[in-house]
């Protein structure tokens, strides 16, 4: 039996943010906003929710740029990897293929 998908991550906006943060050390707020194509306030709301959940860390740079950056916390990475494993298992089951042993973060090693 597979676990149910993590509802908190399984929303388009949060999934986009987490997927952009996954391979990176730090990602700027401006890059997240422009790539996802959302507004400052909508992205701030999503980042706050992810930060409250302990999935991301947000840093406000006090240097000349005064830019804001975000990164995944170890807890966020673990949750995201588990979510991806569940997702892959679901897709494999839907295709009727045998499911291999769960491999944390399998999708995070693809597509690069």
């Amino acid at each position: 039996m597979t676990r149910p998908l993590d509802d908190f991550l399984h929303t388009p906006a949060r999934l986009s943010v987490m997927s952009l943060l996954a391979p990176a050390e730090w990602v700027t707020f401006a890059f997240l906003r422009d790539t996802i194509g959302t507004s400052d306030s909508a992205l701030s709301k999503q980042l706050s929710a992810l930060e409250t959940a302990g999935y991301v860390e947000v840093r406000k740079d006090r240097s000349a740029h005064r830019s804001t950056s975000a990164r995944m916390t170890p807890g966020g990475r673990a949750a995201f990897d588990a979510y991806l494993t569940d997702l892959e298992e679901l897709v494999a089951r839907a295709r009727g293929t045998a499911t291999p042993a769960p491999r944390a973060g399998a999708a995070s090693h693809e597509g690069g």
């Binding site: 388009p12 999934l15 996954a22 990176a24 050390e25 890059f31 892959e88 999708a107 597509g111 690069g112």
Partner: protein
């Protein structure tokens, strides 16, 4: 927002991941290399025009501009070596520019600072830029 089916979600994860990797491992844009070349020439010309105060400002601005990337990827052993290589090439460009400037001044050539700046700019174009591009590529692992 549209509903996410599992296959669509996986596709979205891969697409977004590729976007982050592309941004984080892109070489300096041409306009930044052009700005670096212009900075070398300006620093050289500033010395000829006795505007030495301009030099630290140019260096600070360049340092800030080089940080303007949207995604910072984790460093690897290879990327660190390439970063050291292009850093050394950048220092070498400045050093060579100063040496050439002193030689030109000793030889009584006109605009020795500008001549040094041109030499430094050539090192940036043919040395620093390609090495930085190698570093950027190596970040993809």
């Amino acid at each position: 927002m549209p509903e996410l089916d599992p296959q669509g979600a996986l596709t979205e994860v891969r697409r977004r991941r590729a976007q982050a990797l592309d941004e984080g491992s892109a070489p300096w844009p041409r306009r930044f290399v052009a700005a670096l070349v212009l900075a070398c020439l300006t620093i050289g010309a500033a010395r000829d025009a006795d505007m030495n105060w301009l030099v630290p400002w140019m260096v600070i601005l360049l340092g800030l501009a080089s940080q303007l990337r949207g995604v910072r990827l984790p460093r690897t052993g290879r990327s660190r070596r390439w970063a050291v290589a292009w850093g050394a090439a950048l220092i070498g460009a400045g050093w060579l520019g100063v040496v050439v400037m002193h030689l030109a001044r000793t030889a009584d050539w006109p605009l020795p600072g500008t001549i040094g700046g041109v030499v430094a700019a050539l090192v940036v174009v043919f040395g620093v830029g390609p090495l930085q591009a190698r570093e950027a590529r190596s970040l993809r692992g």
